[in-house]
């Protein structure tokens, strides 16, 4: 089980701030392709940074069960 967190415009378009996906030992890139394609948010995902367990990570990071993956659309704090 992998938990996916979504924020801001990404959350609004997907219609949820959190998804639970029954997978493990896949890369973030694979997770995006096989499980997030249905939401029509390719462009926003493409622009987003990604974090695993609250630390920025690369798209080829392999996800283990229990990992929390956050897609971070372009930030606008400050």
């Amino acid at each position: 089980m992998i938990q996916v967190l979504l924020f801001a415009g990404l959350k609004d378009k997907v219609g949820s701030s959190s998804l639970r996906i029954k997978e493990e030992n896949i890369t973030i890139e694979e997770l995006k392709r096989t499980h997030l394609g249905i939401y029509g948010v390719e462009e926003l995902l493409q622009q987003s940074m990604v974090a695993v367990n609250e630390e920025y990570a690369e798209m080829d990071t392999i996800l283990k069960t229990g990992d929390v993956v956050a897609f971070v659309p372009p930030v606008s704090g400050g």
Partner: protein, 153 residues
């Protein structure tokens, strides 16, 4: 007393300042980001900030470490608001102390630039005629391919 925090409550700049005062400090540079009502004539009613809070705190702490690496005598404190903000309310407050002013200015400028690059916080503008999640305000190409712009040393 935490040096870096996210809060739903109004921020007082003095809360950051008191965290960076020390006997060696002769200069404090602060930066305060406030909710602007008029942007080129367009009126904002209020702002809404969302954050990935635990990660945002970690990224603020990381900015503090980057500053300490670059300017070892600087001390930094940063607070960022989440939730709804009325006009002129404080969204972000940064205070940096150092023995002399040059490092304090440089470091507080560095802090706000890094916040706009790496801290997972998002601003939603609420105008009279609609809303929009803002993003990519630095127009950093680095964002478009989803890669993190590295700072620090």
């Amino acid at each position: 007393m935490r040096q870096y925090w996210m809060t739903k409550d109004p921020i007082q700049i003095n809360d950051c300042i008191e965290r960076v005062i020390r006997p060696e400090a002769g200069a404090i540079s602060t930066f305060i980001g406030i909710a602007r009502e008029f942007t080129e004539g367009k009126r904002t009613l209020y702002l809404e900030y969302e954050a990935y809070v635990p990660m945002a705190v970690k990224q603020l702490e990381r900015i503090g470490r980057e500053i300490q690496d670059k300017w070892p005598e600087a001390r930094t404190s940063i607070a960022h608001r989440i939730g709804d903000l009325g006009i002129s309310e404080i969204a972000v407050a940064i205070a940096v102390s150092s023995p002399h002013r040059d490092e304090a200015f440089q470091a507080s400028r560095y802090a706000i630039e890094r916040i706009k690059e790496i801290v997972p916080i998002w601003k939603k503008e609420h105008w009279e005629d609609g809303t929009k999640w803002m993003g990519d305000q630095k127009e950093q190409v680095a964002y478009h391919d989803g890669k993190l712009k590295r700072g620090g040393k």
